[in-house]
Amino acid sequence: MNRTQFRIQSDNGFRFLFQASGVLCIAVLLGIFVMLCYNTITFFTQISPWDFISDSQWNPSSSIKTSVYGLLPLLVSTLLVTMGAMLLAVPLGVGTALFISEYAGESVKRILKPTVEMLAAIPSVVIGFLGIVVISPAISNVFGLPNGLNALNGAILLAIMALPTIITVSEDAIHAVPYSLKEASLGLGASQWQTLRLVMLPAAYPGIIAAVMLGMGRAIGETMTVLMATGNSLAFPKGFFDSIRTITATIAIEMGEVPYQTTHYYALFAIAFVLFLITMLVNILAERVANNIRKFQ
């Protein structure tokens, strides 16, 4: 075999290799999606979608007659902790990002940024542990509750988990605003705060939205922390002081002991599908908002 032939063949070989890895990835993702859809559809052949949406109780049992598969308590729980987490994490995160990129000196920045990034490396089980031994007792002390394992605890922990993402991505977005815009604003006599609020933040908006959505994505999908820290009560949640059980925690708890191919088994896929829909919706919405603002940039 001469050199030219060898080069052509190795070219084809690598082409095949990359093609194969691409196809494999897409096949795996599609496979997961198809499996999710298939099991969800099977569930709805056994339980009506209306019951699934309207029942205010999640109570699977071995007999289909006594089982209730209501999505609501799980969905409300999930939304409650996620929203709570965002309420805490967004102002804190964006504020920290502003501080790092606009107010902190070089030396502070050099320490703060890697520290924040390191926070992201803490495993969720450690955060959950923190929730059980530190935050939960603190909550029960402060608010005089018998038990601190509730939605507030979960929200605080998820906020901690979402913070590194929100801070890092927002900081990048603020930092990426051209220096010339800041100059233009200050050159017109604006103060630093006016410049930040009216020029830098709006210009960084698409990035900040992305940051919030990424953080939210992490919070919605997070399992271990909420499983450990929110008490996992199946009662319909009434507020942040109630013990709750999120969609993710429900799947994690029940999937291990459910017999295969039963209604209960399919039900877990159905709620997973709901989770998938929420995440997708969040992403689409974020993309929309960001695009609308980007028109001006």
Partner: protein, 256 residues
């Protein structure tokens, strides 16, 4: 030099030194900039002309490790005095930058911004926006699309918008840092025409790389080299009969 002294002085620079960390960028500058005239700062890259310009509205406040000695009087205000309000100074001494830098907002909002932050009465804003667009010869080109993003304008239009934004807040002095270096010849001609119009109402200080531009728009020219002010005189004198050998060589294109 007599003619310079007879007109009113807008900016008086005395014994100005500026250091970036340990490097001296401006060396003992003394310069009087007359009111309602165009003064050009020329010189090769790195000679300190932009640095000098940015001193005049304290843009160096943003840069760490800058040390300034000497005195700059804008009108009767000592700009380095602790009591001087830097925001009011910058309102009085507007700046147009090298690259057009409109805000990522609509054309209207770009001008409205400066008016809002400087507390102009709300009911006057619309008229001032229109007036400043007219003054910068942009109104006819944009009157139907005031709510469109400013960055859809051409580079030259953007720069005129930046000038409109600057004059909207009614400054006394306009600093221009190579305002045409990013523009094509036709846009450049429009800006130059505008500068000639502006000097009726404002004092203009313009940094330029383009010697022909200095010749076309300015009454007085300062030639700088390596942080020093080499020569300052009427533009015609600088270009036709400079006193310094260095100026002559630069004007003649022997270096730069």
């Amino acid at each position: 030099m007599e003619t310079l002294i007879t007109t009113k002085t807008a900016i008086q620079i005395s014994d100005l030194n500026l250091f970036f960390d340990t490097k001296q960028a401006l060396k003992n500058i003394n310069l009087e900039i007359p009111e309602k005239k165009v003064t050009a700062l020329i010189g090769p890259s790195g000679c300190g002309k932009s640095t000098l310009l940015r001193t005049l509205n304290r843009m160096h406040d943003l840069t760490p490790d800058v040390r300034i000695t000497g005195k700059v009087m804008v009108g009767t205000t000592d700009i380095f005095d602790h009591h001087t309000n830097v925001h009011l100074l910058r309102k009085k001494v507007g700046m147009v930058f090298q690259k057009p830098n409109p805000f990522p907002k609509s054309i209207y909002e770009n001008i409205e911004y400066g008016l809002k932050i400087n507390g102009f009465p709300k009911h006057k804003i619309k008229d001032i926006v229109e007036e400043s667009l007219r003054k910068s010869y942009l109104f006819d080109e944009v009157k139907d699309k005031l709510n469109e993003p400013a960055n859809r304008l051409s580079g030259g239009q953007q720069q005129r918008l930046c000038i409109a934004r600057t004059i909207a807040i009614n400054p006394e002095i306009i600093l221009m840092d190579e305002p045409c270096s990013a523009l094509d010849p036709i846009s450049t001609a429009k800006i130059e025409e505008l500068i000639l119009e502006l000097k009726k109402d404002y004092t203009v200080v313009i940094v330029t790389h383009n010697m022909q531009q200095a010749l076309r728009v300015s009454e007085n020219t300062a030639f700088m080299y390596l942080g020093e002010l080499i020569e300052y005189d009427e533009t015609s004198v600088i270009f036709q009969n400079p006193a310094q050998e260095l100026t002559k060589n630069y004007i003649g294109g022997h270096f730069g």
